[in-house]
Symmetry: C2
Subunit: 125 residues, 2 copies
Amino acid sequence: MESVFEIIAEPNRRAILSLLVSSQQSVGEIERQLHMSQPAVSKHLRVLRDAGFVESTVDAQRRLYRLKPEPLKEMDAWLAQFRRFWSAHVDALERHLDRMGRDMDQKTPAKPKTKEKTTRPKPRA
Amino acid sequence: MESVFEIIAEPNRRAILSLLVSSQQSVGEIERQLHMSQPAVSKHLRVLRDAGFVESTVDAQRRLYRLKPEPLKEMDAWLAQFRRFWSAHVDALERHLDRMGRDMDQKTPAKPKTKEKTTRPKPRA
DNA sequence: ACTTTATATGCCTTGACAAGTATATGCTTT
DNA sequence: AAAGCATATACTTGTCAAGGCATATAAAGT
């Protein structure tokens, strides 16, 4: 499980990170708020720590976990390459798709040899 | 494989998306540039399309795939909750950790009952 | 010293998914 | 119509990770 992206693919791990945004938390606190078993929480925290998403601090028998920014910034950096694209093309693209959608409703009389036809994805739950 | 994050957890899928940033590509073109088998490419494209990351267009026997912005924006939205955090705290946090690191080198004479001790993560390859 | 509280870890089972191979589908050219 | 090219899909197999349960470790309280 090398990459930053595989780490945050796990929903519980994302939940933990979201929790830690507000403030640092102990394992037990996380366990209760997210309704997961203590070993599960510990294991996820282990993964997150090894990947640099969090760091821990010993307070008596507890360990307090808090966020570290680096890996999140790394994700942001990857996303950056697309940002240019989506901010530029969203509305133009949507208009284009709208027109294609309407064209498909008609019986498409004669296909002019090499004209393109758009396939729509099925909606996700 | 519901969430956007699980989709982009796959390295080849990320590679495909990065390829498509420049321009739309046919399956065969992707296959060659990424050195993967044709079925592999088709399968990943299927996943990406069902998740709304790409859309396809028929051009004779080829299918041209291009990016769609929505899911990427969704990721960006999730990341947003941390942005506040990392831009505010990076330098302060790093100074803090630097001092902790230096403190640990000394023999830590007497633990004052409830003083916290930082654990560092192991570096990733 | 013993018990309780807090967290980590080891083992095991189960499920998901990626890749390979083979084959199906469909358009094109001759 | 036949052959060929481009892409999709079905089936099988190997890998890996998540969760449960039990247990280890360690600090606190009595």
